[in-house]
């Protein structure tokens, strides 16, 4: 974990709990509220997850509720679907989102289509949690951000919180949601950001974006770990006289189109930031939505600042990621267009 110094400075609230703790609390609270909630995945029990997000839960709720599974993501999701059909509320963990692909068939061909193809007989209310993103020296297979693949799949919801407070509230909403929710956790933020998080239960509704910094000249859309990069770039842009509105999507799909359009109609300029490769990333969808909904308001070409179209590199990851030094020029150029 390489916490860039700006991560801490961007969050203005008093440091209190980090993302891991907030998620852990969210899980604990759902397990406690509803006896049908079960957590399953590799190393989630005994050891509490390789990132410790599920720490202590097996001790508290027993190994029938917090279950260590064999090394088979396809089996985890296939079994979780069956559990959801029976009436449980499974929360499946995929150790790294890079390892979600053995489960891709069960997610995309099955979970996503189950309610539809069965004429509504079998909804699949389940949450699939997985750490995403780079910046922790994970190279190819511990750094990817596969959200676009799931957004392209009708039937799935996709969530990616950027901070501990939102994470807990969104996780609780996701568990209560009656659809299958992909819940992506920015691993770079796990321990890098601390903020005040209530001990008690609360929910943050899905599909509501949040303006985390109001601005006038240009809108930047981000989520997860890159939100902090966008915020840092916005701060720098301000110093150069450009006022940036920063939108944290929080739920990626179904996305909060209204909030995006409201901001873009105001600023007339938009930049989207994501870690995933540029081509066919979620950025393309967002910018196309903007063109479709707010064409006449656009005063500059919509811009993407993203990961390059290469596999995720190890040594040069800081050059791969769309960090603030790449976002800033995009903001300035767009504002000056």
């Amino acid at each position: 974990m390489v916490p860039a110094p700006w991560i801490l400075t961007c969050v203005k609230t008093m440091p209190k709990k980090n993302l891991v703790t907030a998620l852990n609390e969210g899980l604990r609270s759902e397990l406690a509220e509803n006896p049908d909630v079960v957590v399953l995945g590799e190393d989630v029990g005994r050891v509490g997850g390789v990132f410790r997000v599920t720490a202590g839960l097996q001790e508290e709720f027993g190994s029938d509720r917090v279950i260590d599974t064999p090394l088979a993501e396809g089996g985890i999701i296939g079994a979780a679907i069956g559990m959801a059909m029976y009436g449980l509320r499974p929360i499946a963990e995929i150790q790294f989102s890079d390892f979600i692909f053995p489960a891709f068939d069960q997610i995309v061909s099955e979970a996503a289509k189950y309610r539809y193809r069965s004429g509504g007989e079998f909804p699949i209310p389940m949450v699939i949690r997985a750490p995403v993103g780079g910046g922790i020296r994970g190279g190819h297979y511990h750094s990817q951000s596969p959200e676009a693949l799931f957004i392209h799949t009708p039937g799935l919801k996709v969530v990616c919180p950027s901070n501990p407070y939102d994470a807990k509230g969104l996780l609780k909403s996701a568990v209560k949601d009656n659809d299958t929710v992909m819940f992506f956790e920015p691993k770079r933020v796990y321990r890098a950001v601390k903020m005040e998080v209530p001990d008690g239960p609360y929910e943050i509704p899905l599909s509501q974006a949040k303006v985390v910094r109001p601005g006038e000249d240009v809108t930047v859309i981000a989520w997860g770990a890159m939100l902090f990069e966008a915020l840092a770039a916005a701060e720098s842009a301000q110093q150069q006289g450009v006022s940036t509105e920063v939108l944290d999507l929080r739920t990626l799909w179904p996305v909060d189109v209204e909030s995006i359009m409201q901001s873009v109609r105001k600023t007339g300029r938009v930049v989207v930031v994501h870690e995933a490769p540029k081509t066919c990333g979620f950025g393309a969808e967002l910018l196309t939505l903007v063109s479709e909904h707010a064409f006449l308001h656009l005063q500059a070409p919509p811009k993407r600042v993203t990961g390059w179209d290469t596999p995720f590199p190890y040594r040069l990851e800081q050059e791969y990621l769309p960090l603030q030094h790449r976002i800033l020029p995009a903001l300035l150029e767009t504002a000056a267009y």
Binding site: T69, P70, G75, G82, Y86, R115, R117, S118, G120, G155
Partner: protein
């Protein structure tokens, strides 16, 4: 053209002897009335298969995937299950669904994918489901139901509900990922699953002996610490008996079990397939001699519980019911346009509301006869 050679019936006990008498050690202790029910269920399945195939040839339905020759494996297993038990189907088990009381009309509506279809015309024919009948959802991708059935059964176990979940799959499906993960998870967690491998000796054009180098499919279960047995899947009583014992084992031992039901796909893979391209007639002829209906009928006749009149009356009854169902199903309208956007999510999000309105108020509204 090579043929399956290692997948023979050697060492697999039969219940019904060639002369129609019974080997009681391998047969269930059930009434003649129940046996008639088993036979009628098989007969019904066969009659329906024949008619649906004709409908497809006539272009009145788009597709059918039948169970010709496999009726004993399907009905012998399904009808041995308890009312509380669940079935996760492959795609040839419409007979199993009907045996649970699913209305024939609903099944035929599914074949026509009309407005009354339980899956709202969204899937190909023969992709039925029914929660009320404790029957999972047919999916085309091979094998995916296996790990789901395991999760379902495991959930029941966690909830302490004493049910067993039977999951059907073919010989080809043993090569799928979900066979591997499903059996492994079931073994590790002791999920009450009855794995039903319907070995009909072919996966489209691939014979079983090229699907795997193992001696048979049952032995694959031991890899996972799962008990297994083979049964004569063309002998409905032997199958019924084996399944009854397996269900007892599963609930007694709190462990899964796998049964390989040895049978034969007498017809094409589906109405899209012509098996003459890859297999020889004498193999089919040889298997025709073990026709599960002929064998069971002989037994019933031996018991004095069936005759030519029963047979023709039973057939006619199905044909008649079927004709009525087809007439109604064919006359029913297609699903409403708007239903296309239901059930993607529990509630329709804005983007789907928008798309639905685009469809309904778009060119389709101007020219409703477009197809």
């Amino acid at each position: 053209m090579r043929r399956p050679s290692i997948f023979l019936r050697e060492g697999i006990p039969t219940a019904i002897r060639p002369d129609g008498t019974l080997d009681r050690t391998h047969a269930p202790d059930i009434s003649t009335e129940r046996k008639r029910e088993l036979y009628v269920a098989m007969l019904r399945t066969r009659v329906i298969d024949g008619r649906l195939e004709r409908l497809q040839r006539q272009g009145r339905i788009g597709f059918h995937i039948g169970s010709l020759g496999e009726e004993a494996s399907i009905l012998g297993s399904a009808m041995a299950m308890g009312a509380q038990d669940w079935i996760f189907p492959c795609y040839r088990e419409f007979g199993a669904l009907l045996s649970r009381g699913f209305p024939l009309q609903s099944y035929v509506d599914n074949m026509f994918a009309n407005a009354n279809d339980i899956v709202k015309g969204r899937q190909m024919p023969d992709h039925y489901t029914s929660r009320a009948h404790r029957f999972g959802s047919v999916s085309s991708p091979i094998g995916t139901q296996i790990s789901q059935a395991v999760g379902f059964a495991w959930a029941a176990k966690l909830k302490r509900d004493p049910i067993t979940v039977a999951v059907y799959f073919g010989d080809g499906a043993t090569s799928s990922h979900d066979f591997h993960t499903g059996l492994n998870f079931a073994g590790v967690y002791g999920a009450p699953v009855l794995f039903l491998c319907r070995n009909n000796q072919w996966a489209i054009s691939l014979p079983s002996n090229e699907q795997t180098a193992s001696q048979n499919f049952a032995e694959k279960a031991s890899s996972y610490g799962v008990a297994a047995k083979r049964c004569d899947g063309n002998d409905v009583l032997a199958t019924y008996h084996t399944i009854t014992e397996a269900l007892g084992y599963i609930q007694r031992e709190k462990k899964p079990m796998m049964i390989e039901m040895l049978t034969y796909r007498m017809g094409g893979h589906s109405t899209s397939d012509d098996p003459r391209a890859y297999r020889v007639d004498d193999e089919v002829d040889r298997w025709a001699k073990t026709d599960p209906l002929v064998r069971m009928r002989r037994h019933l006749e031996h018991l004095g519980g069936w005759n030519e009149t029963d047979e023709s009356e039973a057939k006619q009854a199905v044909e008649q019911e079927l004709s009525q169902c087809i007439e109604r199903a064919e006359a029913a309208p297609p699903p409403e346009l708007d239903t296309m956007f239901d059930d993607v999510y529990q509630t329709r999000p804005p983007h789907l509301q928008q798309q639905a309105s685009q469809l309904i108020h778009g060119p389709r509204a101007v020219d409703p006869h477009l197809r």
